[in-house]
């Protein structure tokens, strides 16, 4: 693989991210991505797939997901039912083996990108159960005695929101990248990519307001990149006049269309209270 990942037209990658992705792609080790919610962890896998022109196989992990489900599932109930009905299919056990996402990725005709999304949502033992499979990229199907092995090691991207600690043995096999919250310049690049024809001044006013809100102490959920992009989209759709954003009157600390930025009523109230206090001081 001589191709290097360097972001795409829709995704701004920082230098450290590029190095981590290229290392993971070249050595075919899983890449573990952490970061604040909304900083583009899941999107990264989509963009890697797009950049190297590979199909993306997504495995969204939930609290009930078992590692085995990623390999295969044996549908015993269906077989039981067929057996009672006297269906012919019942004689071949492989009719009741359902392929999981890992199997799909291992046998994909074209080199795929496998995204294991939010691995921390699952049970604490989940990553341990996948150790061997991700390390050797092969597993056995006990019901049929078949061995599924990857022709070529797929590119694996794993995201985590840090809700559970991942086991050491698992971490040792991964490259790790922490997406930190983008600084002002990177943010401008990101916005350029998403809204190429947005007015320059609108962006800078909006950004200023955005970072100010992030700095308000005590916010339960700070707005992140994805919220900023949503907000900008709304501002564009609503055709918000520039003056509204430029209004530096502290008594109007609540930004227009704040619903896109603040997702928590306690936070909205906090801002309103700050605005109220600013009004009182001015009097």
């Amino acid at each position: 693989m001589t191709q290097r990942f360097s972001g795409t037209e829709n995704y701004v990658a920082t230098d450290d991210l590029k190095v981590a992705v290229n290392a993971a792609v070249t050595l075919r080790r899983p890449l573990l991505v952490k970061g604040e919610p909304g900083t583009g962890k899941t999107v990264l896998a989509h963009e890697i797939a797009k950049a190297i022109d590979a199909p993306l196989i997504e495995w969204g992990v939930k609290s009930t997901t078992k590692a085995q489900q990623g390999l295969y599932e044996y549908d015993a109930v269906a077989r039981l039912r067929d057996g009672q009905l006297g269906d012919e299919r019942v004689h071949d056990i492989s009719n009741y083996i359902r392929k999981g996402k890992l199997w799909e990725a291992f046998t994909s005709p074209q080199l795929p990108v496998l995204l294991i999304d939010e691995i921390d949502k699952a049970d604490i033992e989940f990553p341990n159960d996948l150790l061997q499979e991700l390390d050797r990229m092969e597993f056995d199907v006990y019901e049929t005695g078949e061995r599924v092995a990857a022709k070529e090691r797929p590119i694996v991207v794993i995201t985590s929101n840090n809700e559970k600690e991942l086991p050491d043995a698992f971490l040792r096999r991964c490259f790790f990248h922490y997406i930190k919250f983008p600084d002002g310049d990177t943010m401008r690049e990101i916005i350029d990519v998403h809204f190429p024809d947005i007015q320059k001044r609108l962006v800078s006013e909006a950004l200023e307001m955005f970072y100010k809100i992030r700095e308000v102490p005590g916010l339960k959920k700070k707005p992140s990149t994805s919220e900023l992009l949503d907000w900008l989209k709304l501002l564009l759709v609503e055709d918000m006049p520039l003056e509204v954003l430029q209004n530096k009157d502290p008594s109007k600390a609540i930004p227009p269309l704040h619903g896109a930025l603040l997702k928590n009523e306690a936070d909205v109230m906090l801002l309103e209270r700050l605005a109220f206090m600013a009004r009182r001081e001015n009097r």
């Binding site: 450290d16 190095v19 290392a23 009672q84 559970k164 040792r172 096999r173 922490y178 930190k180």
Partner: protein
């Protein structure tokens, strides 16, 4: 060089192993990166560090080990951002010198003075250092100072003179981070123990298949649903000296309520006596006898006290020692009753651990608790949960 780096990382508490080291070598061998110091830094970081809390420590070790190596490569020839220089002048030049230079108003002069000044600094601190000879080509290649201490205006990427690892961007992610609700939840999760209890309302597929194969007819087996079976009884100290710790206690409380289904909580003041209460606004009218609690909640409940344990020793050891009412039995008696009834007890103390030894009452309570007092920090909480979930003999 690289092995030395691995040693340094390990002694700094980053648990990198040979596995990671080999991965790094493999990556270097297969030319994953271009030959730039920054890329090497990024690659090493992605390989060795698996926890954003350790990123800052990694930056420091990287700086320590590779400091000087890269300047030997002539990296410093690159352009140096002006704001950085300004910051450095502020740090290394005296008030008068700055005024004088500003009078001259010539940036080159400032650079020149700064250079001399830095060389002096270097000479004083590490006389005979080899960098003085080789560093002559560039103004600031001696690296005798730590730019982390200099406030750099604006975070500019890709300016090569400020090395990325010296910026220490991840400093505030280190484990001194705030004890947020989410962090507490993660710590509390240690206490989870899943068990199947109650009505059998879930199909047990494995047992059904096994039963069917054995019997020869369809043998449906059911089982109860799996849920967190840990039961928790929380005693919270309110009022007085606890007012300083309201926020952290609140966070612990909100995390605990969402994490455990079987959780009960009661309030007390300073020390546990014959009654507790559930509602702080009616604490005088609606009291619940502590005896009732001991009888009501089985010994499989886990008890957590949250309090600063700071009071006068009389409040623990004397009858009638309570500051609020006439207690017929000592606080110690009541605490001991709880400790004797429940095998799993822990006391979480929001005060810093180093201050405990100066408060007699803290020592006393710690003794009553059988040394099971833990600071209300992430690590302390972790230890407490580990102790609580240990199998009680």
């Amino acid at each position: 060089m690289l092995l030395n780096f691995l040693d340094e990382l390990r002694s700094a508490g980053i648990r990198a192993s040979l596995k990671e080291h080999l991965t790094l070598l493999e990556a270097l061998d297969s030319d994953v990166i271009e030959r730039r110091p920054e890329d090497f830094y990024y690659l090493a970081r992605a390989t060795y560090v698996k926890d954003e809390g350790l990123l800052d420590r990694f930056d420091q070790v990287f700086h320590k080990v590779f400091n000087g190596v890269f300047s030997e490569l002539g990296e410093e020839q690159a352009s140096i951002p002006e704001e950085w220089l300004r910051a450095v002048t502020e740090k290394f030049l005296t008030e008068e010198e700055r005024a004088k230079i500003e009078e001259l108003g010539d940036w080159d002069e400032i650079m020149e003075t700064l250079k001399k000044r830095l060389e002096e600094q270097e000479g004083r601190h590490e006389g005979g250092n080899k960098w003085i000879g080789t560093g002559g080509t560039s103004p600031f290649g001696h690296s005798g100072y730590n730019p982390a201490g200099v406030r750099i205006g604006g975070e500019s990427r890709d300016r090569r003179a400020i090395k990325v690892w010296e910026k220490r961007e991840f400093a505030n992610l280190d484990s001194t981070r705030d004890l947020g609700t989410r962090n507490i939840k993660v710590a509390l999760r240690r206490l989870r123990r899943f068990a199947r209890e109650g009505a059998a309302d879930e199909l047990d597929l494995d047992a059904t298949i096994r039963g069917t194969a054995k019997q020869g007819w369809l043998d449906i087996r059911m089982r109860p649903e799996r849920h967190n079976a840990v039961k928790l009884l929380l005693f919270l100290d309110v009022g007085g000296s606890m007012d300083d710790h309201v926020k952290v206690t609140e966070e612990l409380f909100s995390a605990a309520t969402s994490e455990f289904k079987n959780m009960e909580f009661y309030y007390f003041h300073n020390c546990l006596y014959e009654s507790v209460w559930k509602d702080n606004s009616r604490r005088w009218s609606e009291r619940i006898p502590t005896w009732d609690l001991l009888h009501k909640y089985g010994h499989d409940y886990k008890i957590i006290f949250v309090g600063d344990a700071a009071m006068s020793p009389y409040e623990i050891a004397w009858e009638g020692g309570s500051v609020e009412h006439m207690n017929e039995e000592t606080g110690e008696t009541w605490l001991k009753r709880v400790v004797d009834t429940y095998p799993a007890v822990a006391w979480l103390n929001p005060k810093a651990q180093r201050t405990w030894q100066y408060t007699q009452s803290t020592q006393m309570i710690r003794q009553i608790m059988g040394d099971r007092m833990y600071p209300l920090t992430l690590d302390g909480l972790d230890d407490a949960m580990r102790a609580l979930s240990r199998k009680q003999g």
